[in-house]
């Protein structure tokens, strides 16, 4: 890194009184505006304070915390959610640790020393989320939630220690991350039916990658990779035959839990789908290009609500007779189809922002199109579109509140349960709205901050 240019010395600091005089009362007009604005802000601050600490009926929330978090989820199965939160803590910890380990290797390769993130830094990064969780924990007033949250944090910290692991096991720890996240899902949803499929996919991908690419000649490499992947699939399938056990189907999921999983799953599916669509739209094969363009323009012309309804009422005709899909599966399909079209357009924008010279340089070096895409074009194009992409994902996360129209009880819709209770039929509507709004904001704001951080981090050395 080059040193930043030396700054001009800061002007001498004015006294507080001088600052007020200079900034707020420079002349009659600015003094007048300042007085009016201060009065308005003070009044609104007073009203907000009174609402939060004096008038607000917050027992509408504290008595319904479980409803807001998990809605209609069967209460005798709560142990599954506890296990889920603990597994999530561990899985996210290992994932973050593995990412940090990659950063460490990169720093050391360039002769820099790697500084792991500090506790204070992490608190600041996720302060909105942490504050929201802490408020909920205090409102809950019992010991259980504190223990679960504390356990998840401890497990996350233990998992994060994986950043110390050497580079040789990095692939393995990514595999562990993926499996832990899937386990967190399946400890609730159950291990029967098709539950083995996503696990088999993750294992097959890892097995394919683990075959030493640089050592073998190409036909053998392909064959060995395929063999390893097939073996992985078979092993996973056999294990799942043994441990098959039904869980709580996700037609019973609701509340914040559902909102988070729904958004996470749709984002995970829509990103690769949108990436392929975006590339197809710029393909040199006309058929592919027209197909992608038609799809994107069709989907973008339709409101998400319409797609959700269509998923609910039309998807059934297109599936083989006898298959039944829960409303949530249908809405995930609709949300993915919808978001993928927007992601594709964002990615197309990123691709077009790259100078043609980048591709030409790759071609002149004898690289084929796949290598140019993977190593030159996509790393730059994706970095350029991080803000737009995260914006799209934040917007999708908030759009999950539309799910109520197909009978799903999402975080916002929990209000209907609350206000059906005799105590809160007519009161506390504002309180529940504010609570839901803050919940959405805490998560959306954390996503936004992470995106800004990622932008800064990836922008290193590039002007």
């Amino acid at each position: 890194m080059t040193a930043t240019a030396e700054r001009a010395p800061a002007p001498p600091r004015a006294s507080p009184l001088g600052w007020i005089k200079e900034r707020l009362f420079r002349n009659v007009w600015s003094g007048f505006v300042s007085v009016v604005l201060i009065a308005v802000v003070a009044y609104m601050g007073y009203r907000a304070f009174a609402f939060v600490f004096i008038n607000g009926q917050w027992d509408a929330i504290s008595r319904n915390l479980a409803n807001f978090m998990i809605g209609r989820f069967p209460r005798d199965q709560i142990w599954r959610l506890v296990a889920q939160i603990l597994l999530l803590g561990l899985g996210l910890g290992v994932g973050a640790g593995t990412a940090s380990g990659t950063a460490r290797d990169k720093a050391e390769e360039s002769g820099l020393t790697y500084e792991p993130p500090t506790l204070l830094g992490t608190l600041r990064r996720f302060w909105s989320l942490i504050a929201f969780v802490v408020v909920i924990l205090f409102m809950a007033g019992t010991r259980g939630p504190w223990l679960v949250a504390g356990g998840a944090v401890v497990l996350g910290y233990i998992g994060w220690q994986s950043w110390r692991l050497p580079r040789t096991v990095r692939l393995l720890s990514w595999l562990v991350t993926g499996l832990l996240l899937l386990a967190a899902f399946q400890v609730v949803s159950g291990t029967d039916g098709l539950a083995w499929v996503p696990v088999a996919l993750v294992v097959a991908m890892a097995a394919w990658l683990v075959v030493p690419v640089d050592r073998l000649d190409s036909p053998w490499r392909q064959l060995a990779g395929l063999g390893a992947a097939a073996a992985g699939v078979a092993i996973v399938y056999l294990i799942y035959q043994e441990i098959a056990a039904p869980g709580v189907g996700w037609d019973q999921w609701s509340g914040m839990n559902l909102t988070l999983w729904w958004s996470a799953i749709v984002i995970t599916l829509a990103f690769p789908a949108g990436l392929l669509l975006g590339l197809a739209r710029r393909s040199s094969l006309p058929a592919l290009r027209y197909l992608a363009t038609t799809y994107i323009e069709l989907i973008r012309g339709v409101p998400l609500i319409t797609l959700l309804f269509m998923g609910e009422f039309i998807l059934g005709f297109m599936l083989p007779a006898g298959t039944s899909l829960s409303s949530i599966s249908r809405s995930i399909a609709a949300g993915t189809l919808f978001t993928a079209a927007y992601v594709a357009e964002i990615i197309r924008g990123g691709l077009q922002s790259l100078p043609l010279g980048q591709t030409e340089a790759g071609q002149a070096l004898g690289m084929g199109t796949p290598v140019i895409l993977r190593k030159i074009v996509l790393p730059q194009a994706l970095r350029a579109v991080i803000p737009a992409m995260v914006g799209q994902f934040i917007s999708l996360f908030k759009d999950s509140s539309l799910l109520f129209i197909i009978g799903v009880t999402d975080f916002l819709r929990v209000r209907a349960i609350v206000h059906a209770q005799p105590d809160f039929r007519v009161v506390a509507h504002a309180e529940t709205l504010v609570f839901v709004a803050i919940g959405f904001w805490a998560i959306a704001y954390a996503m936004s901050r992470e995106s800004q951080r990622l932008e800064r981090k990836l922008g290193v050395g590039v002007r």
């Binding site: 002149a364 070096l365 030159i376």
Partner: protein, 257 residues
């Protein structure tokens, strides 16, 4: 100038033609960028192409590694004819290095990663070996100490030298230079030209599109003058600069010298 003359000149340097361009036309829509181009380049020969902007110089060398597709005629590089066959194109590109006016380094990769990318991905070279090769190339262009910086942290001249090292790492048989010093500040032109002179002395076959007449005089075996998509005049620099035959050449030289 007849075709025979060009061929005789071409084989003069070594007796063997590495690149054979014959009867090449190139159109951009209705505009004809290249008109019946015939030129051969011998092994270890340095050919400098000059001419006014828009005369087709860049298009010509971009046709030689198929960044542009020619419409008529044949281009043969080291015995491989350029056709629509993707494998032929890849093979030719592996044997021709290219240096661009705008450097076109990969800004998201460090200098050493810029250089090792193609050997590792295209030649499947193990990482360690590729990095040793990259360091040798960086020493050749005299900036090994910049290996772990990003292109954005280097000066223009340093970036262009990295671009040369990046091409050399593929161990090409011929290097194409597309106005390599035109985007540089004047004080940085020399450091790049010095590297190119070293390359030429080392026996690299080179085709250089440039406005640096000093370089052409000192290094070129032949100078090619192009105008309006045609080769107007070809000759060794000692004749070309002192005794040009064509009126258009005389006019051009009088404007730039």
């Amino acid at each position: 100038m007849t075709t025979e003359q060009v061929f005789t000149d071409a084989t003069r340097a070594s007796g063997k033609a590495l690149i054979e361009v014959s009867g090449v036309d190139k159109f951009f829509g209705d505009f004809q960028a290249l008109k019946d181009i015939n030129i051969n380049v011998g092994l270890q020969e340095v050919v400098v192409v000059i001419g006014p902007s828009g005369s087709g110089k860049s298009t010509l060398i971009r046709c030689i590694n198929r960044l542009e597709k020619h419409d008529h005629g044949t281009i043969i590089v080291d015995g491989i004819e350029l056709s629509d066959d993707v494998r032929n194109i890849q093979e030719v590109r592996r044997e021709t290095g290219m240096v661009f006016q705008q450097f076109n380094l990969f800004p998201h990769l460090t200098v050493i990663d810029n250089i090792t990318l193609a050997p590792r991905q295209v030649r499947r070279m193990p990482k360690k070996e590729a990095e040793e090769l990259a360091m040798r190339m960086l020493e050749r262009v005299k900036i090994p100490e910049q290996a772990h910086k990003y292109p954005g942290q280097l000066s223009g001249g340093q970036q262009q030298r990295v671009a040369i090292a990046r091409s050399l790492a593929m161990q090409p048989k011929v290097m194409l230079f597309d106005e390599p010093t035109s985007a540089l500040d004047p004080e940085m032109i020399k450091e790049v030209l010095d590297v190119m002179v070293e390359l030429a002395k080392g026996g690299m076959t080179m085709i250089v599109v440039t406005h640096e007449m000093g370089f052409a005089r000192a290094v070129a075996n032949r100078v090619v003058f192009m105008s309006d998509g045609q080769i107007v005049e070809v000759g060794p620099p000692e004749h070309f600069f002192t005794d040009p035959q064509e009126d258009r050449t005389k006019l051009f030289l009088s404007q730039i010298l």
